[in-house]
Symmetry: C2
Subunit: 321 residues, 2 copies
């Protein structure tokens, strides 16, 4: 099943079912918003799945991704991991950070009251802050009880999403040094227009991981196509980690962190900071600049047969006015 949220003058928008090929859509029957669906998933999803199959056979209206909001335009909780060791290890080397223990996921809580649409301009305060994208995968879960183990948590993964976690790199180390995590360095994220149920990935959803490449283009040039599978912890383990001392509210979005692979010199990166780190290691100095206003990034993940999944993130950064 594929779902999107279209604007309707309310903060949460109107939930739509989208055809498998992402060309057509129809308002969800029996439920108005993504949040309402996720709060009562087991009761509501079967009818939507039937509606989805009907839509795939024909009908509906044109789905215009540029009109879509984020699938969940605001959420009660956004937790972001950093589950790709090749990225974390490189950042530690480059920024001379203390190594993190390997047996424990890295995770921060980020702002969740606003997720930007996939093709909206992204207003940010200053080019001097080191504007960077981070291509990620994420899950949306329904309620996970406090103390749930990974197997239990996996059963609460209802939807998968694709995220651009905007980062302001010159602020990040200042905030990180406090140990308190990031406020200024992590403005609102953007989300690809379509959320999909895990079964849409077939065998590419395995071990609580997305076994597909995330293709990233920066200003029209291929930047990376890292494989999503290589997480040191699956989403199931990340959710269980988060639920150790809290229940996770239905509609929690949990991210993977920047998708990264060990062969990043060949396969490329999902954020500029990683590319700069490689340049620093290899040549003594970073040469790729962070984003300037007007610069654009495009991110897409399809099945290996080319079937679209989440739609496309394609947006540019602009000055906040």
């Amino acid at each position: 099943m594929k779902l999107a949220t279209l604007p309707n003058q309310t903060p949460d928008g109107r939930l739509h079912v989208v055809s498998r090929d992402l060309t057509r859509c129809t308002p969800a029957e029996g439920v108005t918003t993504m949040q309402a669906l996720i709060e009562d998933w087991e009761a509501l999803a079967p009818a939507l799945a039937a509606q989805y199959e009907t839509l795939n056979a024909g009908g509906g209206t044109a789905f215009v991704p540029a009109e879509a909001l984020a699938p969940l335009p605001r959420a009660w909780q956004w937790l972001d991991g950093s589950a790709y060791d090749s990225h974390g290890d490189l950042m530690q080397t480059v920024f001379k950070l203390e190594p993190n223990p390997k047996g424990r996921p890295l995770m921060y809580q980020g702002m969740s009251h606003q997720f930007l649409p996939a093709t909206a301009d992204v207003p940010l305060p200053s080019e001097q802050d080191g504007i960077d994208f981070e291509g990620e995968f994420g899950v949306i879960c329904d309620e996970v009880p406090m103390g749930a183990d990974a197997a239990t948590a996996l059963g609460h993964v209802r939807l998968l999403v694709q995220i651009n976690d905007w980062s302001l790199r010159r602020l990040a180390p200042i905030e990180m040094k406090t140990g308190f995590g990031w406020i200024q360095a992590k403005p609102a994220c953007s989300v690809a227009p379509v959320a999909v149920t895990p079964d849409e990935l077939g065998s590419a959803w395995r071990d609580g991981r997305v076994d597909l490449p995330l293709v990233v283009d920066f200003n029209g040039t291929r930047f990376g196509a890292a494989e999503g599978y290589h997480m040191s912890f699956g989403f199931d383990e990340l959710l269980a980690h988060a639920a150790q001392s809290r229940s996770l509210v239905a509609g929690t979005i949990l991210g993977s962190g920047t998708v990264s692979n060990e062969n990043f010199r060949e396969i490329g990166s999902s954020c500029i900071a990683e590319r700069r780190g490689i340049e620093l290691l290899d040549t003594g100095a970073p040469k790729t600049d962070y984003m300037k206003f007007g610069d654009g990034v495009r991110m897409q993940c399809c099945l290996r047969d080319g079937t679209p999944l989440f739609g496309v993130i394609d947006q540019k950064v602009v000055p906040n006015t």
Copy 2:
């Protein structure tokens, strides 16, 4: 104006106006929930203020604080500062942390999808985690635009609240070391039952600070009565810091961090960790234990003439089952 939220079988409860002496209440007219009020404060608050004055003259029904939910039972954003240098400096000394730069507020983003009622039992996973309370003040703001300065932010402070920021101290340094902030170490906070407009404090609301003592009792014994005024940054400055690269959604709750004063040996502390730090410095070892299941904490802040403000936090920790 004083406001509380009573249960009505919905997650957001039913907003009530509470009499100045906290003995009587009446359902808010023209608005159902605290979130709806804060989203449209300027339009809705005047009529509520009139209702409040009528209630103060008589009428309404008994206000039973033990029935109240948190004033805002869930919020789109919870940001918590650490604005009392006497606390921060002590923690740095005791835990041998690197000193933080003084010109920049400390702040983390915490879980906001659940704020516990002031007298509800607090379920936590383990006594081994170092269960601690943290007595704080907080503000609830309506929307603060990205880039707002402190003076602008101050104008968006609509309500003041009193918070117990539950902390799991044995997990905190492990998470802090990553630089990512806290997930497991910061479960849901509790909030005193009544939110008040700043004018209820009279001259005790000044410089964006609460100039009143927060009285804390641990298992029935006085633990501290630290003065709220001594923040190194006022709430206005904390809000502006938070709004540097994001707009703050209406209903954002921002906390002061554990209330602490330089003369903590005389005036006491608002959390056990601070007391243990003092013991460690003074005697070579901490002697006050963290909380065991069944232990209770009580927190209250009144005007200096004894007029109640936020009501009382009075609760105990229990095992999560």
